[in-house]
C-alpha cells in the first residue's frame, strides 16, 4: 500500500515537472524541472530494487542538466527574470499527435494481457549486472564503449573551431599554444 502511495506521488512529480519543462518561462527553471523529472524516475527505479541503475540515473541526469542549463542560456539568451517565451511551431498538431499516441499506449498497457512474472531477481542486482556485463553479455560493453569514445571525438571535432594548427602554429613548433584563454599546461 505504502509503495503505491509513494509511487503515485513520484509519478505525479515526474509528469508534472515534465509538463513544466515546456510551460515555464525561464530556461533555468525548464532545465531543472527536467532534472526533477529524472530524479523522480530514478527513485522509482530504486523502488524496483534497481539501486545501481536508479542512483546512476540520478547522478548522470543532474550532471547533464547542470550542463544543459549552460547551453539553454547560451543559445536562448534571456535573463533570469521570468520573460514570457513562446518558441513553438505546429503547436496544435503536436498536442493532438502526442495525446493520440498517449491514448494508444495507455490503452495498450491496460488491455494487453501481460504474461506472468518469470524468474526471480538475483539477490545482489549490482553484482548480477556487473557479471552479465563482463561475462555473458560482454559484446554489449564492447559495442557501447567504442560508440561512446567515437561520440567524444565527434562532438569535439564538430564543436571546436580551432584545430591544432591554430594553436601550435603552422609547423606545430610553438612552445606555448596561442589560446584566447591560457590553459594550465604549456610554458
Amino acid at each position: 500500500m505504502l509503495s503505491i502511495i509513494v509511487f503515485s506521488a513520484l509519478a505525479i512529480i515526474a509528469v508534472a515537472s515534465g509538463i513544466a519543462v515546456f510551460r515555464v518561462d525561464s530556461m533555468a527553471r525548464a532545465t531543472y524541472a527536467l532534472a526533477v523529472s529524472f530524479v523522480a524516475v530514478g527513485v522509482m527505479l530504486v523502488m524496483f530494487d534497481l539501486d545501481y541503475i536508479g542512483v546512476i540515473t540520478i547522478l548522470m541526469m543532474v550532471m547533464e542538466m547542470a550542463i544543459m542549463a549552460i547551453y539553454m542560456i547560451m543559445f536562448m539568451g534571456m535573463n533570469p527574470a521570468l520573460m514570457p517565451m513562446s518558441m513553438v511551431h505546429n503547436n496544435r498538431w503536436s498536442a493532438i499527435l502526442a495525446t493520440g499516441i498517449f491514448l494508444l499506449l495507455a490503452a495498450g498497457a491496460l488491455l494487453v494481457p501481460w504474461p506472468a512474472r518469470s524468474g526471480t531477481a538475483a539477490p545482489d542486482l549490482t553484482v548480477a549486472v556487473g557479471e552479465a556485463l563482463m561475462g555473458s553479455k560482454m559484446l554489449v560493453m564492447l559495442t557501447v564503449s567504442p560508440i561512446l569514445f567515437a561520440t567524444i571525438v565527434a562532438a569535439l571535432v564538430l564543436a571546436n573551431p580551432r584545430g591544432r594548427y591554430d594553436r601550435w602554429g603552422d609547423n606545430l613548433k610553438r612552445v606555448c599554444p596561442d589560446d584566447p584563454q591560457q590553459g594550465g599546461l604549456g610554458k
Binding site: F22, V41, M87, A98, G119, V140, P161
Partner: protein, 100 residues
C-alpha cells in the same frame, strides 16, 4: 503498484516529451523533449524488467538506453554549437537552410 500503472506513467512521460520534441523551435528545447521521451522509455523498460522477467540481461538494456541518452546529448550539444557558430541560429527551421 502494478505493471499497468507504471506503463501508463511511462506513456505519459513519453508523450509529454513527444509533444515538446515536435513543437519546440530551439534545438536545445527539442533535445529536452527527446530526453523526456527516453525518460519514459527507461521507466517502461524497468517496469517490464521487474514485472515480467527480472534477470540480469534486462538491466543491460537499461544501461544501453542511458548510454544512448548520453550520446544523444553530446552530439546535440556539439551540433547546436556548430549551428550557432556557422549560422548564428539555433532554430530547427533555420537549420534546414544548411542543406541548400
Amino acid at each position: 503498484m502494478t505493471l499497468q500503472l507504471v506503463l501508463v506513467v511511462a506513456a505519459a512521460l513519453f508523450c509529454v516529451g513527444l509533444y515538446g520534441a515536435l513543437s519546440q523551435q530551439v534545438v536545445v528545447m527539442v533535445m529536452m523533449g527527446l530526453e523526456l521521451m527516453l525518460n519514459g522509455v527507461i521507466l517502461a523498460v524497468a517496469a517490464f524488467w521487474w514485472f515480467l522477467a527480472p534477470n540480469p540481461d534486462g538491466m543491460l538494456l537499461l544501461l544501453v538506453v542511458i548510454a544512448a541518452m548520453t550520446v544523444e546529448m553530446a552530439m546535440g550539444f556539439a551540433i547546436a554549437t556548430l549551428l550557432h557558430r556557422s549560422k548564428e541560429t539555433d532554430m530547427t527551421d533555420m537549420a534546414a537552410d544548411l542543406s541548400g
